[in-house]
Structures are given as structure tokens and as C-alpha cells.
């Protein structure tokens, strides 16, 4: 039993580190370090740098332009990216729709869509949730009715992340009302420029419209944009939801943030003549967080080791999701606690690109509350943590 990397893996780790130091643009690094949001151009620029290096799609097979890395190498790559603060690709194209197209799409669809995803020429967004279909996703109502060579789509999707940037949306639509709800769903790719689509931003608690509602009013979609067979969409969707939950635990990001917590705690007075880092109560809780991060890291490594010897990713990813998100949220609380009064100024502009005024509050303390608010999403999205517990209940405990 050992958690060591091989010499080849260590060399690769070194290569990734050097690449990040040399190639991750300094202006983006500065933004990340100052908690300034990256905009679309920033993210696309970084993705194209990765593409040039041949590292845009670590989890794709080589034949589609992936890296062909082992699970361990993919893990090393994600870890180094996270530790350095380099953003992961926006998952909707690369990690969500692409695997579905690869598995169930036609040859033509693969050639049409995959290269643009790989090169970050097309921005994808997700059309899953609806106002009345959240955790019970299969009860979705957005309808697609076949008329000749087209589907006519009516309905609305919500919690559509960064759809304001998107060129394409992948949607689950209802194509049969007369059967069991899971059996009447199809998987449809829709061009966001199609007439009849309107997009309405939803401003979240941190003041940023990170998500949208998308309305479909008699939107005509070519039937060739259907993935696989009609009414089989639920099967494809489930594959997507369980596919490649690499880095779901967020350990590297957790490590980065732990370091930041310690730094800020050292610089912050506790009001009783010591620093927050020396404050008995805070110190104890900080230690608990660090210990939890270790337990999480080794749980992830155990999962990874199992994957590496060919075992299927099981309900372990549910554990990683629950523990990882709860830990991240605990850290959010601690950032707020450290910031104290300094998290009160609501000046979201200063964390947006292009802000050149005087920031209020020391360092990034004013972002603490905003991050805390925004990250409440972590335990809700991607299958709420309660849904993850249902998965464990069924798949592991057999209840």
C-alpha cells in the first residue's frame, strides 16, 4: 500500500508545474489571486492555450483529441491546476455534452461538434432543470413536437449557468407524454441563435447573473440535432450526470483556500490581543478543516486507485461530492468570520473585470460574504447533497 507517484508521474507533475508557471497568463493569475471574476474572453484564452499544448481535454480519448492520460495523470494535472489557481474548463461542453456525443451521437454529429468544443470555439450551456423540475429532473415539461424534419420546442429551462455567453444549449425535452416520465425524454442540441429563444438573467445572492432562465417559444430545431434515439434521452442524461466526476472533491482548491485562511488569520487581530491564528477557538476549527481535507484527499485517492485498476466509478463520487462541498462551505464561513465587518460592503463591481477604482476593505475581504452566499449553491447543484445521500442509500446500503 502506498500513495507514491511513479518516476514518470513525478516528471509529469513537474512538467505541468513548469507549464503553468510559464503559460498561465500573469493577468489571469492576478485576477484569480484577487478573487476577480474571469470573463468569457479570459476563459477562452486560457482554454486555447491548453488546446495548443494538447491538454485541453484530459478526460477525452485520444481519437477525439484527448490526452490519453491515465487516471493518475489526469488527477495530477487537475491537482496542479487547482493548486496554481488556473481555472478548469467550463464543464458544459468539455465534460458534459461531449461524452454524450461521443457515446451516442452520430458520426456526423461528432465531426460537427467535438472539434469546436475541443478548440473552445463554441461555448455550451446546460438545459436540464426547469422551474418545476429540480431534484426530480425527470418530471420536466419542455416539449419538443416533431414536424417533418424539425422539432418544435416550447417551454422553459432554468439555472442555466453562463448561458449569456453560450452558442449552443443541450436540452432534455419531452417527446412523449403518454409513458412513464423517464421514458418520454429526448436529448436535443439547440443553437442559441435560433429564433424564439429568449434568455433572462437571474441575479444571485452575490449580485452576479451567473444563471439564467431560457424560454423557448415555437423554436424550430432540425431533427438532425437529436442525439441518439427519441425517448432515450434520460439514459444519456444519467450517463452525463455520473460521467467523469474528476476533481469533484475540490481538494486542490481546498488546499489553496486553506493556505489563504491561514495567511489572513495571521494578519487578522482577534480583539483580545492575539491574531486569529492564535485564537483558541478559531485555531481548533481551522485544524478540524485541515484534518477533514486530509480525510477527503485520501478518500479521493482511494477512489482514484480503484479507477486505475479498472473498477467503475461507484457511489464513492457521492461521498466526495457531499464531503467536498460541505468542507468548501465551512471554509466560506471561516472567510466571513475572518473578514468580520469588512465583508459588509456590497460592492460587487470591484470583483468584476475592468474595475479600476479604490477597493473597499483590506485585501479580498469584501468578497468573503459574496463567496459565502454564492457557494451555498455547491450543496444544491450537481444533484443536491440529499440526492447524493439517496444514491448512497440505494447503491451502497441496499435500502
Amino acid at each position: 500500500m502506498n500513495a507514491d507517484f511513479t518516476a514518470e508521474e513525478l516528471a509529469f507533475q513537474d512538467e505541468v508545474r513548469k507549464f503553468l508557471q510559464n503559460e498561465f497568463p500573469a493577468d489571469l493569475k492576478a485576477k484569480v489571486d484577487a478573487s476577480v471574476r474571469l470573463d468569457k474572453d479570459d476563459m477562452v484564452r486560457w482554454q486555447k492555450i491548453l488546446f495548443k499544448k494538447g491538454w485541453a481535454a484530459p478526460t477525452w480519448p485520444v481519437e477525439y483529441g484527448g490526452t490519453g492520460w491515465s487516471h493518475t495523470k489526469t488527477h495530477i494535472f487537475a491537482t496542479e491546476m487547482g493548486l496554481y489557481g488556473a481555472p478548469e474548463p467550463i464543464p458544459f461542453g468539455m465534460k458534459m455534452v461531449a461524452p454524450v456525443i461521443m457515446a451516442y451521437g452520430s458520426e456526423e454529429q461528432k465531426q460537427r461538434f467535438l472539434p469546436d468544443i475541443l478548440e473552445s470555439n463554441a461555448w455550451w450551456c446546460q438545459g436540464y432543470s426547469e422551474p418545476n423540475a429540480g431534484s426530480d429532473l425527470a418530471s420536466l415539461k419542455t416539449a419538443a413536437v416533431r414536424e417533418g424534419d424539425e422539432y418544435v420546442v416550447n417551454g422553459s429551462k432554468t439555472w442555466n449557468t453562463l448561458g449569456q455567453y453560450a452558442d449552443w444549449i443541450f436540452c432534455l425535452v419531452r417527446t412523449d407524454n403518454t409513458v412513464k416520465k423517464q421514458e418520454g425524454i429526448s436529448f436535443l442540441l439547440i443553437d442559441m441563435k435560433t429564433p424564439g429563444i429568449t434568455i433572462k438573467p437571474i441575479v444571485l445572492l452575490d449580485g452576479f447573473p451567473e444563471v439564467n432562465e431560457v424560454f423557448f417559444d415555437n423554436v424550430r430545431v432540425p431533427a438532425e440535432n437529436l442525439i441518439g434515439e427519441e425517448n432515450k434521452g434520460w439514459t444519456y442524461a444519467k450517463v452525463l450526470l455520473t460521467h467523469e466526476r474528476t476533481n469533484i472533491a475540490g481538494v486542490p482548491r481546498g488546499k489553496r483556500r486553506l493556505k489563504a485562511l491561514k495567511r489572513i488569520a495571521r494578519e487578522t487581530e482577534d480583539g483580545f490581543g492575539a491574531s486569529m491564528l492564535q485564537n483558541a477557538s478559531f485555531k481548533q476549527r481551522l485544524a478540524e478543516i485541515e484534518i477533514e481535507l486530509r480525510a477527503l484527499e485520501y478518500s479521493e485517492l482511494r477512489t482514484l486507485a480503484a479507477l486505475s485498476v479498472g473498477k467503475a466509478p461507484g457511489p464513492e463520487s457521492s461521498i466526495l461530492k457531499i464531503v467536498g462541498t460541505e468542507l468548501a462551505q465551512k471554509m466560506d464561513e471561516m472567510f466571513v468570520e475572518l473578514a468580520g465587518y469588512n465583508c459588509l460592503p456590497f460592492v460587487p463591481d470591484q470583483f468584476e473585470p475592468g474595475f479600476d477604482g479604490d477597493a473597499i476593505g483590506p485585501g479580498d475581504s469584501a468578497s468573503a460574504a459574496l463567496t459565502y452566499f454564492n457557494n451555498r449553491k455547491l450543496s444544491i447543484f450537481g444533484g443536491s447533497n440529499e440526492i447524493q445521500r439517496n444514491i448512497i442509500t440505494k447503491a451502497v446500503l441496499g435500502l
Binding site: T72, L286, A295, S299, A305, S308, N390, I392, G398
Partner: protein, 377 residues
């Protein structure tokens, strides 16, 4: 990276499992606890024959050169069986104190006795006011000619009632909690001035409060060098902490499994209680706790087997004990709660496992103590 057991570890696991299945059911365990000595001498001889008592020791010390991971494998199975034999006291903590501190000559007799199953050891480290800090030693050791005179009180001396030898930490110089000045002495249990107040622990093991009143031992009973034992004690404790943490992981796993099984058969309101989501999610959380505890014990065992610094090892072990303590409280309490009243009775093994893991939480420092230790290191 590889988290699978080696062939030898697999064999070790199989052999402990086989023993437990054949010779350690609930009733047998209760009989052993109720016996005069509170452990089975036959089992102990079997442990010696099977080589389990040799696992913790290096080959040059006459052992099998077992790693911390090997020890973890054994202890997890012991934990599942809720074993009461004093393996940790004699072979792990006691044995490691000898292995870490003793001279070659001392090892010769003591380790041979331990490995052969002829010698029972009781490490006597904890004191009434010391909590879990091994440096908090008020027991004194004063030289008088060739003899050393020991005075003090030791508590929670595991295996005290059955021990041939007590391994007593005592202060030769310095103030309480000073790092320097501590030695460990091998004291024969029957020595004049040694008073052993036996008791059975809440989890069915044998322990004692030991008072030392002008106990005279030869200077040659001091293990190794004078006044420099603390690092060796800490290292022995690190190993023991991994051992009891692994034992807890085994016990917690059984608690989870029994709770889930029970929830499938116990019917209320016309249906199995396991169909209630309020209970399902709590059992899912128990599973998560078990997995995190297992992960962090593996981390700590691998750290002890690595060439990391002693500070890193200490941190890894403290992290494990802290995290396992949390899992113990939640899985232990939930298993009682979900079983309901039946788990409050002596007739179900669930309550006994609950008591065991509660004692394991305290062993060598509870979760809070080790969280503090982690933060301080």
C-alpha cells in the same frame, strides 16, 4: 499509487478473520470477559503460534518486520470482533516501548517473552492529572545507590491485572511536562510497594490503577538511556494510535452494517424502518463517516511507514485520531438511536461495540486533544 493489500496482508487478514469466525462469537466473548483473568490464555497462545504477536517487531528484534499497514489489517479485524485480549497493551504499545527504548540485552528477554506469548505487559503511562500528555509525568524516579526508587500513581493501566511487567514512565529530573527527564522502567508486577487496583473497563477489558510507593528497582530495569525516553514513548504511542484507530474503523463498520441490516427487518407502521428517508440519510452519513475514518487511518499508517519527519508523522497520526473520534461519536450514537430500545440492552452486541468505540475514542487522547496537538505541531 496502490491501496490494495499485498498478498501477505491478505493472508494476515484471512487468518484473523478465520480465527474470529471460528472462535470469537458474542457468547464466547461474554464468557471470556466473565472469566477470572478476563482474557483467554488459549487465544493468546494461538496468537503467538500464528505469529501475530511478532508482527509489530522488526526482524532484527526477532519479529516479522510488520509495517503499520500490516498492524492496521490485524487491528481492523480485532475491532470487528470486539476482541478483549490485550494485544495493544502487550504487543503494540508495550512492545514498541521496549523496541524503541531498550538495550539489546533488555530486548533479548522482554521481546522474546512478548513474541512467544509468555509475557504480559502493562504500559503505565497515564497519570491522574496528566490527561493524555505523555510528558505530563509526576511519578518520580530517584537514584539510591544502585537502585531506583519509584513513587507515584498511574491510571488506566490497560492489562494491569494480568501483567507480568509494568512499563512505568517516571521523571528523573525536571518539572512536570518537561520534555527531558523521563525514563521508562520495567517493574515486576509483584514488586514490594506496587499496588494494583484491578477493574473491568466499560468495554470489557482489564485495567488497573497502579500506585507505586517506594518501589525499588535495579538501575538495569531502566529501558535504555536515562531521562531521554519521551521521543521513544511518543513514537510507540503513534503506532498504538494507528492501531486503536484501525480497531475503531473495524468496529464502526460492523455497527453500520448491523444498523442497516436491522433497519431492513424491523417493521413499524407496517413497513421496514429502513424505508424512511429520515433514517436512510442518517445511515448514508454513517457510511460517509466510516469511509472518511478509513481513509485517514490509511493515511496515518502510510505516513508511519514512510521516511517523513517525526513532526509529519505526529501530525498524520493526530489528524487520524481526531477524525476517527468524530466518526466514533456519530456512527456510535446513530447506531444506538436507529436500533432504538433494543440497543440499550446487554443482549445485543451493538451496545457492546458502542462501548468499545467510546473507549477507543479516549485511548491515547480523544479527538479534541489530538486536534489541538495537530494544530500545535
Amino acid at each position: 499509487m496502490d491501496f490494495s493489500y499485498t498478498e501477505v496482508q491478505q493472508m494476515l487478514q484471512d487468518s484473523v478473520q478465520k480465527f474470529v469466525q471460528k472462535s470469537y462469537d458474542f457468547d464466547t466473548r461474554n464468557k471470556i470477559i466473565g472469566s477470572e483473568t478476563g482474557y483467554s490464555a488459549d487465544n493468546w497462545q494461538l496468537f503467538a503460534e500464528l505469529g501475530w504477536l511478532a508482527v509489530p517487531f522488526s526482524e532484527e528484534d526477532g519479529g516479522l518486520g510488520g509495517s503499520a499497514v500490516d498492524l492496521m489489517v490485524i487491528m481492523e479485524e480485532f475491532g470487528k470482533a470486539n476482541l478483549v485480549e490485550p494485544y495493544t497493551a502487550t504487543a503494540v504499545l508495550g512492545g514498541s516501548l521496549v523496541a524503541n527504548l531498550a538495550t539489546g540485552e533488555q530486548k533479548e528477554t522482554l521481546l522474546r517473552g512478548i513474541i512467544g506469548g509468555e509475557l504480559q505487559i502493562a504500559p503505565a503511562l497515564a497519570e491522574p492529572n496528566g490527561r493524555y500528555n505523555p510528558a505530563s509525568v509526576a511519578t518520580t524516579a530517584t537514584a539510591e545507590g544502585d537502585q531506583i526508587i519509584l513513587n507515584g500513581t498511574k491510571i488506566a493501566v490497560e492489562n494491569g491485572p494480568n501483567a507480568d511487567i509494568l512499563l512505568v514512565s517516571a521523571r528523573e529530573s525536571g518539572e512536570i511536562r518537561d520534555v527531558d527527564g523521563i525514563s521508562v522502567f520495567a517493574v515486576e508486577a509483584g514488586s514490594p510497594g506496587v499496588k494494583i487496583r484491578k477493574y473491568r473497563t466499560v468495554d470489557g477489558k482489564q485495567a488497573a490503577e497502579v500506585t507505586l510507593d517506594q518501589v525499588s528497582v535495579a538501575a538495569s530495569n531502566r529501558l535504555g538511556e536515562a531521562a531521554a525516553a519521551l521521543p521513544g514513548i511518543e513514537s510507540a504511542l503513534n503506532r498504538s494510535i494507528v492501531a486503536v484507530s484501525a480497531e475503531a474503523v473495524g468496529a464502526l463498520e460492523v455497527l453500520l452494517q448491523k444498523t442497516v441490516e436491522y433497519s431492513k427487518t424491523r417493521k413499524q407502521f407496517g413497513t421496514a424502518i429502513g424505508t424512511f428517508q429520515a433514517l436512510q440519510h442518517r445511515m448514508a452519513d454513517m457510511f460517509i463517516q466510516c469511509q472518511l475514518a478509513r481513509s485517514i487511518v490509511i493515511m496515518a499508517a502510510m505516513s508511519l511507514d514512510s521516511d517523513e519527519s517525526s513532526v509529519e508523522k505526529g501530525k498524520a497520526v493526530a489528524a487520524a485520531k481526531s477524525r476517527v473520534g468524530k466518526a466514533i461519536k456519530s456512527v456510535g450514537q446513530e447506531s444506538i438511536q436507529i436500533h432504538g430500545g433494543i440497543a440499550m440492552t446487554e443482549e445485543l452486541d451493538v451496545g457492546h461495540l458502542f462501548k468499545r468505540v467510546t473507549a477507543l475514542d479516549l485511548a491515547y487522547g480523544d479527538g479534541d486533544y489530538h486536534t489541538q496537538r495537530f494544530a500545535a505541531l
